[in-house]
Amino acid sequence: MGWAWFHRFGSPPHLYRLAGTLTPWFAWPAAILIVGALYLGLFVAPPDYQQGDGFRIIYVHAPSAWLAVMIYAVMAIAAGVGLIWRMKVAHAVAVSCAGVGAWFTAVSLVTGMLWGKPMWGTYWVWDPRLTAQLVLLFLFLGYMGLRSGIEDLGRADRASAVLALVGVINLPIIRYSVEWWNSIHQAPSVMKMDQPSMPMEMLAPLLMMLLGFSLYFGAVLLVRVRAEILRRERSAAWIREVLS
């Protein structure tokens, strides 16, 4: 046994088939959870005592922001594995994370701005938390830009992996920005050691949505990894067998 399972992941045909089998197991629960959480969050959860119904944007905003950070972590880990073990499929996983991560980051920024205008009184301020999240978007975009600027696949993999690793420093900054500095952004309501600052009827849809978004990311990642493997292995013999 030993490391055999790990090395089997490194085999493109194996991962290609595994990803294809797993996709529906992520996609369907994700769809059910997201629809259920939307219904519970928008219609069943009570309004907030101060923000009224405006607080409901949290059900998209907070899970998107968490996912953005989580996807960056997955991307950096995959990039690190790819660098250390020279594992091509690990680089394929890292590449597949960037686009989804950038979109979740953008959604968290846009929903935050839409909430910020009526509640804070402004769409945007150069606050530590907001700025760090914007830097996260630029890290994702920079990662993709760097890759598209390098012709040679192996060099693009290594260079972008180093960039992904350097950007990891931004993750603790995002998380702790609201505690280290005076920030206009509120402190964490859920992701903290203490009990959540939210009653169960408001919290449950939020956690459901977090799980739903995570599974959705899993499903999209699997589909994208398959596409990336096809692209990289397009001249390999096993592809012809799979596709015929």
Partner: protein, 156 residues
């Protein structure tokens, strides 16, 4: 060292390097990244009095004074140690209310009044339905405590 060990060293080195660089940069920036100054910092002379800066704190209950028929507004920003009176003309955000966080952007006048040209409301991390908020306020003499215990409230 095998090539793989060398690559492990490289990855660990990158992570350690950026962590140290980040920690040093952040501790150096610590003061500059502050989004706002609180009234105690203003009283201690830490805020840039001659420039525009942001003042943050709580709106002191009972201090909001609106001029009827205009957008003129006066209130007191407090951190429960020091107070700074603020004057503002314009529309305030939805969450601007007494005993709520607020961030005012403007200048401190020689008369000690902070003249703001922008008012932002700061929300706290507590979310709850109106009935629960009412129940908690009733228990605490009509005032929302800083860390309301949501478990102490009976389900509505």
């Amino acid at each position: 060292m095998t090539p793989r060990q060398r690559r492990v060293t490289l990855v660990v080195g990158i992570l350690a390097g950026v962590s140290i660089a980040g920690a040093l940069a952040l501790s150096a920036f610590r003061e500059n990244v502050m989004f706002f100054f609180d009234p105690s910092q203003v009283a201690a002379g830490e805020a840039p009095i001659d420039k525009r800066f942001r003042l943050g704190g709580m709106v002191r209950p009972g201090s909001v004074d609106r001029q009827a028929g205009s957008l003129e507004l006066q209130f007191v920003v407090t951190d429960f140690q020091q107070d700074v009176p603020v004057r503002y003309s314009g529309v305030v955000p939805d969450l601007f209310r007494e005993n709520q966080g607020v961030v005012a952007h403007g200048r401190l006048g020689t008369d000690g009044i902070f003249v703001a040209d922008e008012i932002l409301a700061k929300h706290d991390e507590n979310y709850m339905p109106p009935e629960v908020a009412r129940a908690i306020k009733d228990k605490h003499g009509g005032v929302m405590p800083a860390n309301p215990d949501l478990r102490s409230v009976p389900e509505t």
